[in-house]
Symmetry: C2
Subunit: 399 residues, 2 copies
């Protein structure tokens, strides 16, 4: 099997540092058969990525701390390894808090980062010892004050992030004009207005793309401190990229450059927290899947349809709107290729992965062939449906 080619500038991109074809994941998949689509994750690769990001984050300020965004891949073996490395954790729910504490995480390094929390879940987190919560609205602060009195809160800010591959919606955060109001309300409620958070946007491929966002947040940060809030924490969120076929910056140089941009704008920040999720795990796993059918709809069709045993509802949800372009490896690579529409196995007409921009696959591909989908370590197992069409959820094996 060949690795996907055409990366360009190998010293600059993250993934080809280890050739996929010779990776532990590729070897494992080659040596095994799988009854169902299976994500194979290399936890040593996760450790290398954690270290690469940490090295960059210690540049200039020397005090940024990683809080892994558990939602990207919550497999207990990954959490356990990260606990051993001293990682903190960004939890989206009660379930994720239980998970990381169960794997031995230090509760002082767990933040409840979802701005949308049930009162009962805030109470649970408070009793479990969590002391850091996100908020972006009055009602959320009221719930936190009632159910986790006296705790630390950071306010999530909406920023314009047009440089990201996927700018986020306005779902999370408040506009700049509300930040002072919320910090003041937190203080009035007996909470500790501890800092600010933001998200630069998913898959921000180059560090320099952070500039505009950081300018906006720094202006708010300084205004808050001038108003006497004495903020302690800057939570820079995630947005660090993974490799999906387009060049990305090496994680260490990327993180170092972001820290430099922060130091230039914020000066001396007591605590900086980063929440990588996708960038920590995406490149560390691949899905072993199978071709179920290759067909043409009409004698005149130019494109083939290729159907896999995995689709949009069994792990590949991020193909929605064809946003992520996954990379494929087949046992027939090297044969002539042709364009095809790629679809999943369910009886759902929306379960089509790539149609507007067809992908190139070997013309010799046929039912029963193994196909590997690379860089699938993030946001696959958890998006998988519980049993759509009677298909089991995506399996995961950590090696």
């Amino acid at each position: 099997m060949n690795a996907v080619t055409g990366f360009g500038r190998p010293s600059f991109v993250a993934t080809p540092a280890v050739e996929f074809a010779t990776s532990r994941v590729a070897s494992y998949i080659a040596a095994h058969d799988f009854a169902h689509p299976t994500l194979v994750m290399d936890v040593d690769a996760v450790e290398r990525q954690f270290n690469a990001l940490s090295d960059g984050l210690m540049t200039r300020t020397g005090r940024a701390h990683i809080h892994y965004a558990v939602k990207a891949n919550p497999h207990p073996a990954i959490i356990e390894r990260l606990v051993g490395l001293g990682s903190g954790f960004d939890a989206a729910s009660r379930g994720e808090i239980e998970l990381v504490l169960g794997q031995g995480a230090d509760v002082d390094h767990v933040s409840f980062g979802n701005t949308i929390k049930k009162a009962s879940d805030i109470r649970f987190a408070h009793h479990a010892g969590v002391t850091l919560f996100a908020a972006d609205a009055e009602e959320e602060l009221d719930k936190i004050a009632e159910n986790a009195p006296g705790t630390r809160v950071y306010i999530r800010v909406i920023v314009d992030n047009e440089e990201a591959d996927w700018p986020l919606s306005r779902k999370f955060g408040c506009a700049a004009d509300k930040v002072m109001t919320l910090l003041g309300r937190a203080r009035d409620l007996g909470l500790i207005p501890f800092g600010l958070s933001f998200h630069v946007g998913s898959q921000t491929r180059q560090a320099r793309m952070w500039t505009g966002t950081l300018d906006q947040v720094a202006a708010i940060w300084h205004r808050a401190n001038e108003a006497g809030f004495g903020l302690q924490l800057l939570n820079i969120g995630g947005g660090f990229p993974a490799f999906y076929g387009e060049d990305i910056q090496h994680p260490t140089s990327y993180a170092a450059e972001v820290m430099g941009l922060i130091a230039d704008r914020f000066g001396d920040v007591p605590q900086i927290m980063a929440e990588p999720g996708r960038s920590m795990v995406a490149d560390c796993g691949a899905i072993a899947a199978e071709v179920i059918l290759v067909s043409k709809k009409s004698e005149d069709d130019l494109h083939r349809w290729v159907y896999l045993d995995i689709g949009k509802f069994s792990g590949l949800a991020e193909t929605m709107d064809e946003a992520i372009r996954y990379q494929f490896v087949t046992s027939r690579d090297g044969d002539e290729t042709g364009a095809c529409v790629l679809a999943g196995p369910s009886c759902d007409s929306a379960d089509v992965l790539y149609e507007k921009r067809p992908i190139q696959l070997p013309v010799t591909l046929r039912a029963g062939d193994k196909i590997i989908i690379r860089n699938c370590g993030a946001y696959t197992t958890t998006y998988s449906s519980v049993g759509f069409n009677g298909f089991p959820p995506l399996d995961q094996i950590v090696i």
Copy 2:
């Protein structure tokens, strides 16, 4: 609590025949608290819907048989009730075949209706006694001939279906120019070329919308019989509507009218099979959910954001592109309403249910309020992710 109003022409629409406020589902939800979002299904209502559809389908031809599309809601209690009523089943996978046989279904009334099947799953179905399979491509026929020799196959045809609320993609079926080729190949492979199937498109709200589709399929049907294939089975698929706020025709009159259109075009068809899924169960259940947060992003915002404890990845996947407009019932109905953006609880910016077309909800709504989402019996539990963001999958209770 009040039922949603504004239906118009009550004798013509399906749902208001039972006022929601006085339904068993509404009573059950009112009488219970739920720790997580929960779909409450009334299996007696499923039985009534089965009977209403059956009555219509027996019109004119006297021989149409329902094969419930299991994927719409595979709860064992629903399958068991339908087995007792004499329903057949359309299975999308090995898992669904195991499910229905486990609930006592007659294997002679189970068809393997997915056109995309693993060879090993075809073999399983064959050994389990299934003798009816769908196909739309040469390679699929080859797999069926090898793993289920001598069995019956029907060819799925692509039709233009511009009248449906959601015309299907070209994912399933073959163009008219390939049907004779595939029927011939099936015969050459020792299979029984048994019939044709098609799908008129999801949520085809009025029976008269079937006309154009039936014209296309009838032309192919007659051509195949003139060529000597002696087809036995016309599988008319699903597409029967559920109520999502727009008038739909009563199921009995709808089914009867479709059967009339078929009789006029096909003449004497030995066997007719219908595969209702959504229309069988959607109106028979409602989800009990909770408001987690109500907020404004900016002091100047006109719209509120209302966040629920259920979202796109925990059961409401069909809000994708805001396709389905669910109906909401709250304990504050009757108070003044205002427009709001509705979103789910996950840390995913795509987890927004309605934003382009905001919905009207009481301005008094606040965190902790119970909210009921009506007509959620179809395509909710199974689309639910296995644990995105650490949230458990959608619960289901059948009463």
